[in-house]
């Protein structure tokens, strides 16, 4: 299983808070997961997920697009943070 979370304007635009995906060994990096999600959901998702500002976290740590995924991981996509 992979748990995929979306925050802020990505959550709103994609109208999705959490996706639970079957673990598939094909899907081995954050980048590959993005491609998988785009293939399933179309160009609107592509536009948002491929935006150069999108930040990726795996298990609550910000990572690069090449980060490998493992069964049970929690992945998150969100725009740049604006705390404080």
């Amino acid at each position: 299983m992979l748990s995929v979370r979306f925050f802020s304007l990505l959550r709103e635009a994609l109208n999705t808070e959490v996706l639970e995906l079957e673990w598939s060994s094909r899907c081995c990096t954050v980048g590959a997961l993005k491609q998988e999600l785009i293939k399933q959901n179309g160009s609107f998702w592509e536009e948002h997920l491929m935006h150069p500002n999108v930040i990726h976290a795996v298990n609550q740590r910000v990572v690069m697009i090449e980060e490998p995924l493992h069964d049970g991981d929690e992945i998150a996509f969100f725009p740049p943070m604006t705390g404080g």
Partner: protein, 151 residues
């Protein structure tokens, strides 16, 4: 030492009093309040979304790393989420140290990293019903980077 991420208001004066009661030579505190004027004009409400779990983890890492780098004697970060009105405190950072330069630097280091690294997102709501996600400021990223430059 410690992080609190909460929907409830907090009492910054009481928090300041607690730090000062330590008797440590230098106390520095910063707090940020909701502006009443945003990107689309008057702001009637600010909504703060966050990533529960990751927020606490990132804030703890920022505090620990400020503490190690500036030999802080203590530090505390309080950050609210949920709906906030203009003038309400969003964030409160307090540190103590043996010397004032460490206290100032530690407090500002925490704020500069929190701004760009802690998973919070702000949405402004306006009196006319419009709403707008606040865009990250390039200047915030620049301010964070200056702590990591060779010079």
């Amino acid at each position: 030492m410690g992080v609190r991420v909460q929907i409830e208001p907090f009492d910054g004066a009481q928090e300041y009093g607690r730090l000062a009661a330590s008797g440590h030579a230098a106390v520095a505190v910063f707090s940020g309040q909701v502006r009443d004027f945003g990107y689309l004009g008057d702001v009637s409400l600010l909504e703060l979304e966050h990533y529960p779990g990751m927020t606490e983890r990132v804030l703890t890492e920022i505090g620990d790393s400020a503490s190690a780098r500036f030999s802080l004697l203590s530090w505390r970060i309080i950050h609210r989420y949920g709906p906030l009105k203009a003038g309400e405190a969003i964030v409160w950072v307090g540190v103590t140290a043996h010397h004032r330069e460490a206290a100032f630097a530690g407090c500002e280091f925490i704020m500069d990293h929190l701004k760009t690294n802690a998973p919070f997102w702000k949405k402004e709501r306006h009196p006319d019903g419009k709403a707008q996600w606040v865009a990250a400021a390039d200047t915030d990223e620049q301010r964070r980077r200056r702590w990591h430059e060779d010079s």
